[in-house]
């Protein structure tokens, strides 16, 4: 991997970190294609990131050479598959700085991780008049599982408001924590607004009242270094496909004390230690929560993705993305009729915006004709749209492989939208 400190200082894509971002971009084969005759500018990384060659090759290699079921066979292939699968668990443990590898549960993605906690942790504990606390900037996957469990138990869902900059005000949050609150579930970074929430303080405040906290890390894990011990969160959920890994695989981190006390989420193979028709003994952690044949190739690819980002360094990635965010904000703000939705002081490289002249879908169609891929819509966060009184937003979300040229192309594309719709 090209991590050099001796490259020419004239390279525009080189930062103080010494990482050659221009060369890293070449690791992503999908980016070197033409869309409608223009080179692809991919700015929908908050929805899903692209995959480096290393990840694609790891999945290919697994299926060509090592494919077998895990934890079962007494033969070479199964041992290789098991080893690769479990090696990723160690990598995730290191990536999140979890205390133990058994605290890392493989799931389909952040959505399944949150549903697991809702059903296996919250549901047996909730009584009518108990409360779950979320925020007004949550993704649907950190709203609906809690609504479902509240429906099942009679508990109540409370929502921390956000201010006009799309920030959680800690005083508002503090007021909503009370003796009935059984769980706080908050996004680490908002997918629709980019806000980085003050989760360290929020967790400390909840813990003062012995309230456990789940963090939705789907957006945060690719963009900043996560240390679950330093955060002291009780649960952390993330998805591989946002961290340059394959789709269909994700992680639930949970503190062992909670995971040990929880019932399994699903029953099946691998999650048992013995089964008779009279009684089943559940397997130990983490297998208790991994029923059935898992997404082995996905886990293998995810492990390679973690190696890839770890070699670049999350701090370097965060620094580069902040540079890009600043550049993009400066490039977009002067454009006629453009308003950025989500102006938190602490923000990741996500820019949601609306234009006076055109609806987000029209913006997206016109940009696509120029090879620029952005997201238009409600971003699976309809309450956020309601909060800011917009039906939808256009969203450009940047990854470290994006560059200043991509942002210039975005800005040019928006000018074209204005020309088509406003005659300007």
């Amino acid at each position: 991997m090209p991590l050099t400190s001796s490259r020419s200082s004239t390279s525009v894509t080189q930062t103080a970190s010494g990482v050659d971002w221009g060369t890293l971009r070449q690791d992503f084969p999908i980016l070197s294609q033409l869309i409608h005759g223009h080179s692809l500018v991919y700015l929908d990384n908050a929805a899903s990131s692209q995959k480096p060659n290393a990840v694609i090759e790891a999945i290919d290699h697994y299926y060509r050479h090592d494919n077998a079921n895990v934890h079962r066979g007494v033969y070479t292939l199964s041992e290789r598959a098991t080893q690769a699968y479990e090696a990723t668990r160690d990598k995730v443990q290191a990536f999140l700085n979890a205390t133990e590898r058994e605290e890392i549960i493989f799931v389909r993605g952040t959505t399944e991780a949150i549903n697991l906690v809702a059903q296996s942790f919250a549901r047996p504990r909730l009584k009518p008049c108990d409360e779950i606390l979320i925020s007004a900037m949550e993704h649907h996957s950190n709203i609906v599982p809690w609504q479902m469990v509240c429906e099942q138990t009679g508990a109540q869902l409370n929502v921390v408001p956000i201010n006009d900059n799309a920030e959680i005000v800690l005083d508002d949050y503090r007021k909503l924590l009370n003796e009935n609150t059984r769980l706080v579930a908050i996004t680490h970074i908002s997918n629709a607004l980019g806000s980085i929430n003050p989760v360290q303080e929020m967790i400390a405040l909840a813990h003062e009242q012995s309230i456990p906290v789940l963090l939705d890390g789907a957006q945060a894990a690719p963009h900043l270094a996560v240390d679950v011990q330093a955060l002291d969160c009780d649960f952390y959920a993330l998805s591989s496909h946002k961290i340059y890994g394959p789709t269909g695989i994700g992680v639930l981190y949970g503190k062992r004390t909670w995971l040990d006390a929880m019932e399994p989420y699903q029953g099946g193979g691998d999650m048992i230690s013995s089964v008779t028709f009279a009684k089943t003994e559940y397997n130990v952690l983490p297998y208790k929560f991994e029923a059935g044949t898992p997404n082995i190739a996905g886990v293998v690819g995810f492990g390679t993705a973690l190696d890839y980002v770890s070699e670049i360094g999350l701090d370097n990635i965060a620094e580069r993305e902040q540079q890009l965010l600043n550049y993009a904000t400066q490039a977009l703000l002067p454009l006629q009729g453009l308003r950025i939705i989500g102006t938190a002081k602490h923000k990741a490289s996500i820019i949601s915006f609306v234009l006076e002249s055109a609806h987000p879908h029209d913006i997206s169609t016109i940009l696509d004709q120029q090879g620029v891929a952005i997201r238009a819509g409600h971003h699976c966060a309809m309450p956020v749209m309601d909060r800011f009184k917009v039906p939808a937003t256009a969203r450009a979300s940047l990854a470290f492989y994006n560059n200043e040229d991509d942002i210039d192309r975005l800005a040019e594309g928006i000018k074209e939208v204005n020309r088509i719709f406003g005659g300007v």
Binding site: A46, H361, D362, G377, H379, I420, F421
Partner: protein, 174 residues
């Protein structure tokens, strides 16, 4: 601007998108129906005044992209004065216009100004924007279901637009 875009965003569409006609609540309507595309958030409320099997007035309110607003604007203008049978024919012709790669010339005569929306056929993810108002109208005229909002994701009429891979948007993203 390339040819496809020029075809999609014709002046008439930009004009109707920015200044939709019949954009108001019809107080003395006989039918009203909400239409909604949950995947993109386009939402409109359609009002119809039907007397003796004929639509004598039509109006709508709502939010959405230029295509959906222009489509609703043009549709409400076109259906005024037409019988329900004529409107069904218009619906079929419009559906053919936006989903058929090379629609027959005969439907052009029938559709009149509505043909400006034909460019949408080259943009599969946008076909539902153009058809939302039409499906809403169909549901509104069908008294069996006009109690609840018609959704682009549950209407059987729309499945044709999806089964060909056209008009299909996916609710992806976390």
């Amino acid at each position: 601007m390339n040819q496809d875009l020029r075809e999609l965003y014709q002046e008439v569409i930009i004009d109707h998108g920015r200044h939709p006609r019949n954009f108001k609540k019809l107080e003395d309507h006989s039918h009203s129906q909400e239409g909604y595309n949950p995947l993109c958030g386009d939402r409109l409320m359609l009002y119809l005044k039907v007397e003796k099997n004929r639509v004598i007035d039509a109006a709508f309110e709502g939010v959405g992209c230029a295509i959906s607003m222009a489509s609703a604007s043009l549709m409400t203008s076109q259906i005024k004065g037409k019988t329900l049978e004529e409107i069904q024919q218009l619906f079929q012709a419009f559906h053919c216009l936006v989903t058929t790669p090379e629609p027959p010339a005969s439907i052009q005569d029938c559709l009149g100004k509505l043909t400006v929306l034909g460019g949408v056929r080259d943009f599969p993810t946008r076909i539902k924007c153009a058809t939302l108002a039409w499906h809403t109208m169909n549901a509104g005229l069908d008294s069996k279901i006009h109690e609840q909002a018609v959704s682009t994701e549950s209407s059987t009429d729309l499945s044709e637009e999806s089964s060909t891979g056209e008009g299909k948007e996916q609710p992806v993203e976390r």
